[in-house]
């Protein structure tokens, strides 16, 4: 038995109606040797300490390291910064800390 929906049974979608783009992660790097790893400090307290340690480990393993910093942890990274990291690096680590 089919029933036509009654007008009062139709609701308007309250959402942003976005088609979520799903993107596969890039393949894992086979080796860090000679690769550039970006370290993004989101500007939380003591994020730099964590990234300093990480940088030392990465350099030991033959990677090159570039450091970046967001202006504030409370807002998304500026588009230009994201673009710069994408162009300059093979991989990126984004660090929280407190």
């Amino acid at each position: 038995m089919s029933r036509e929906p009654q007008p009062s049974r139709v609701l308007l979608d309250p959402t942003g109606e976005r088609e979520l783009a799903t993107r596969a992660p890039l393949p894992r790097l086979p080796s860090l040797d000679g690769r550039t790893v970006g370290l993004l400090d989101i500007a939380k307290a003591r994020g730099d300490l964590f990234l300093d340690r990480l940088e030392a480990h990465l350099l030991e393993r033959g990677a090159k390291v570039k450091r970046y910093r967001k202006p504030t942890f409370t807002k998304p990274a500026p588009r230009d910064l994201r673009q710069q990291i994408a162009v300059e690096c093979d991989a990126v680590v984004e660090a929280l800390a407190d």
Binding site: P7, S8, R9, L11, L12, D13, T15, G16, F73, T74
Partner: protein, 485 residues
């Protein structure tokens, strides 16, 4: 599945005279003989709203569907129109012999009738019918996806299951209710008013109206909700960070201006509490927009450790009438008497009790001692505060002649704190500031970081403080927005 909702063409009117009537109207019954006279003398088309057999003896077009009445803005019957080249050039409402004679160019109409009788309400503006008519005739103004519920689906459960709810039941956003909500603003439904975080989704007036319906708003609240969404989605307010933070803060909305009274907002007893529809639903509508349009949900981008109950809705009006001071909106730059919202990134309210101070200096010291503890007595300059001064406390300042600026200045002076009390380890507490500041004196709040609003019930020597979130360009700043009709 989209439910088709065809909008009939706006029906054209035939040239000549056009009358719209209903049998249920005594004035229409009274003028039925006049319509018969006119039909005999000139080109007349009669539309009947309730009975195609009325008036008798005259060719009648059936308008029980009310398409002609609705589209030609007929508010009362009888309405007599003169139409030339398909366009209305003259209109008479009700029965007035002189108007009808002038409009028709005919003399001696309705001999024996009184000169004048008022008409009756048109069925096309009947409050019981209007929402359905709008949905039928104006659905093309709405662009949101239509979701037809399955016959056995419970509409309340269906909305929760689709993830639209903040945990409380929602009012189903039917086209009828959304179109009625849109009557609350002159702005077009498809106007984009904001990019809503965290997903930065374009948000139209219509999407705000849909969420306002779900929140339980009345149409007259919609302009306030729109202003809140605009204010929240600015870089200065930074709703993204405020949502994402682990701190227990959310948007706190203060409404100033005559609209507070017009829409019945509470600024008095239980001002931060339950029981007032506008207070409870305006803040809720903003939060539903962030949830549903922006995609901001607890456990996803919302990472609050505790949150606070005000994240359902924290919205109130200032008691401007009984205040000794200027309203908050004016402190932030608004012209007097202009309807405004101020959004403050705040936690839940905390009580300040002082039942003994009758001197302003003593009461200012009570405020300062409480404000010192905000978030932590050893943390300074990181957070603003919204200080809500209750009427009985405000009286102390009024009687002593203290302006708001004087109070704020005194609080800043009382909240200059020696660095030795603030450094890490001081007082046996690890939390604190780096050793380097130990010889400095630091203020608890940045300049402009103490905002004062007057509200609350008339009895009780209490005030309240609402702590802010990370302040300044680094975090979130209070944002003022004018409410546009």
């Amino acid at each position: 599945m989209a439910a088709p909702s065809e909008r009939p063409e706006r029906p054209a009117l035939p040239d000549g005279l056009v009358a719209i009537v209903k049998r249920d109207c005594p004035t229409c019954v009274l003028v039925a003989p006049v319509l018969a006279e006119l039909a005999g003398r000139t080109q007349l088309t009669v539309y009947s709203q309730d009975d195609p057999g009325f008036p008798e003896g005259v060719p009648v077009v059936d308008d029980r569907e009310l398409a002609v009445s609705y589209h030609h803005d007929v508010d009362a019957v009888p309405t007599l129109l003169r139409v030339e080249g398909g366009r209305e050039v003259e209109r008479a409402v009700g029965w007035q012999r002189s108007d009808w004679e002038k409009l028709s160019g005919e003399r001696g109409l309705g001999a024996g009738l009184p000169d004048w009788r008022p008409g009756c309400g048109s069925r096309s503006v009947d409050p019981d019918l209007l929402p359905g008519l709008r949905a039928r005739f104006e659905s093309d103004r709405l662009h949101a996806r239509r979701i037809a519920l399955a016959p056995l689906e419970d509409e309340f459960e269906a909305m929760v299951q689709r993830g639209w709810s903040d945990g409380l039941p929602l009012v189903p956003p039917t086209p009828e209710r959304v179109l009625e909500m849109l009557q609350g603003t002159t702005r077009k439904p498809d106007e984009t008013i904001a990019l809503v975080p965290p997903d930065l989704v374009e948000c139209s007036v219509e999407k705000v109206a849909i969420n306002a319906v779900m929140a339980g708003c009345k149409p007259e609240y919609l302009p306030v909700v729109l202003a809140c969404v605009e204010a929240a989605c600015t870089d200065a307010f930074n709703a993204h960070g405020l949502l994402a933070t682990t701190m227990p803060t959310g948007p706190v909305i203060v409404v100033n201006g005559p609209i507070r009274r017009r829409i019945g907002m509470n600024s008095g007893i239980n001002v931060f509490g339950q029981g007032n529809r506008a207070n409870s639903t305006i803040g809720r509508a903003l939060q539903l927009v962030i949830r549903n349009v922006g995609g901001g949900r607890p456990g996803e981008v919302d990472r609050a450790t505790f949150g606070n109950p005000g994240k359902l809705s924290f919205c109130f009006a200032e008691d401007e009438e009984a205040s000794p001071w200027t309203p908050l909106a004016q402190d932030l730059g608004a012209e007097p008497g202009v309807d405004c919202v101020t959004l403050f990134p705040g936690e839940g309210p905390r009580s300040i009790v002082d039942q003994l101070s009758r001197e302003p200096e003593s009461l200012a010291r009570t405020f300062a001692a409480n404000l010192r503890t905000l978030h932590h007595p050893k943390l300074v300059l990181a957070f603003d505060v919204l200080l809500a001064v209750g009427p009985e406390h405000a009286r102390v300042f009024r009687e002593a002649g203290w302006s708001k600026a004087q109070l704020v200045e005194r609080l800043h002076a009382l909240l200059q704190i020696p660095g030795g009390e603030l450094v890490r380890g001081a007082g046996g507490i690890a939390e604190g500031l780096p050793e380097a500041i130990k010889d400095a004196t630091l203020p608890k709040f940045r300049p402009g970081g103490i905002l004062v609003v007057h509200c609350g019930g008339g009895a009780g020597l209490f005030s309240a403080m609402i702590g802010g979130w990370v302040t300044g360009e680094m975090g979130s700043q209070p944002v003022l927005r004018e409410i546009r009709s």
